[in-house]
Symmetry: C2
Subunit: 254 residues, 2 copies
């Protein structure tokens, strides 16, 4: 399918930096937020990594991901304590200095109303040279952008505030349209039928997900509205022929 | 520190296969379960990846992770539909045949009570050659183990059932001991003090995490009980000197 004025969609990876997620002490709350954020602005989130708070490790992940994807979002590790090493790692990954950024310092002073920054808060003004800042309306300490890497806070409420700031800076793609069909049988009963329909519609991605009990949800995703409608109709017919109750067809946004 | 009879701790990576997590349609529920599982049996979970349902992509991730870590746990993509391609990818990653496994077939027949498997359910008996099976008491369809890769279901209740089966097969390490201190100030106020204590205790990992409002939680982790107690006491003294209320000191398991 071709449309006029269609920009190619950008893809992205998310790097979550945090031992606390890997030890199980904290339950991640950012993956789903960023996944929905990307979906809503037409960016394909292709990979998520959760990495330990180890310098070498973060440098390697940043360098791999920034080469492989259009955008890299990172969360976590930009606070005031010794275990916050994201800015150090990203500076090293880009081979630039990590320096006290005057604007970041001003933002921190401005937010606290203090005349001077404590050593801890000053640490949060350390920004890789050449980066631009991402404003933080919650606690003042900024994130930063260097080339295609967007370093944000790990605290969900701050991260969400930062996402709002960066959204207008990203190249947004066509929204993926989707339909969701809930069917009152297990996946095995629809497997063959779905496979046939998938083969007939290359530009529709059909996924099937088991639900608790004897339900399956079928998700059809495409940026081609006509193909999506045609393939959804075929899935609907297949489902109707099963003569089960409780089928629900929902046009969904995801 | 050295202890007698101490086996070196094993590390692990988790690969979550699922477009539905990357699109935001489904919220992951397995990361935290597996993180706690590893912590509880003394295995270091070092990395988590979420990969799209794309064959080449899964093959690359499996091959990278199995070389870099002692264990690789995967979840998702072993169901009956066309988008379930984990078994295909892992067979390709190990360069072995993907074949109908007689034991897997028997498990599926046994669970359903049928005499014959539908084509969809038969798909779930396709197992990489040389793999051993992971029993699934919930729906019958097994996971599998090949070398250091453990392929499990994505549905949380089935995945949890499979974890129970594989636990006795893993080399369990010494449990990491930990203490948690909640302090009624923001992180900036404790940053310097914590850094000093961290420098004095190489074998204790001290993490600091901002909590909503003006709280911070400090987590000290170590397998050296004496060092953990000493460093915790120092953190406690530092916190006492702040003269804030609401400090709570908890010995915790994580």
């Amino acid at each position: 399918m071709s449309h006029q004025n269609l920009k190619p969609r950008k893809n992205a990876a998310l790097l979550i930096i945090g031992d606390e997620i890997l030890s199980g002490q904290t339950k991640d709350e950012n993956i789903n937020t960023i996944a929905l954020f990307c979906t809503n602005i037409g960016i394909d989130l292709k990979e998520v990594r959760i990495a330990a708070d180890e310098l070498e490790n973060i440098i390697i992940s940043i360098n791999e991901l920034r080469k492989n994807y259009d955008y890299v979002f990172s969360t976590g590790g930009i606070g005031p304590t010794h275990d916050d090493i994201t800015a150090d790692a990203i500076a090293k990954a880009f081979n630039v200095e990590l320096e006290i950024n005057a604007d970041a310092k001003a933002m921190l002073l401005n937010h606290s109303g203090d005349k001077q920054l404590s050593e801890g808060r000053l640490r949060m003004a350390r920004i890789p040279k050449g980066a631009t800042l991402i404003k933080n309306n919650v606690t003042g300490a900024p994130g930063f952008i260097i080339k295609n890497v967007y370093a944000m806070a790990g605290v969900p409420i701050i991260m969400q505030d930062m996402l709002k700031s960066i959204a207008p800076l990203l190249v947004q793609g066509e929204r993926i349209l989707s339909n969701k069909i809930m069917v009152g049988v297990g996946e095995s009963k629809i497997a063959l039928g779905l496979e046939k329909i998938q083969k007939a519609f290359e530009n529709v991605k059909i996924g099937s997900y088991p639900q608790m009990g004897k339900f399956s949800s079928i998700i059809l995703r495409s940026n081609d509205k006509i193909a999506l409608e045609k393939s959804t109709k075929l899935v609907q017919s297949m489902v109707d022929e099963l003569h089960v109750e409780n089928n629900i067809i929902l046009p969904s946004r995801i």
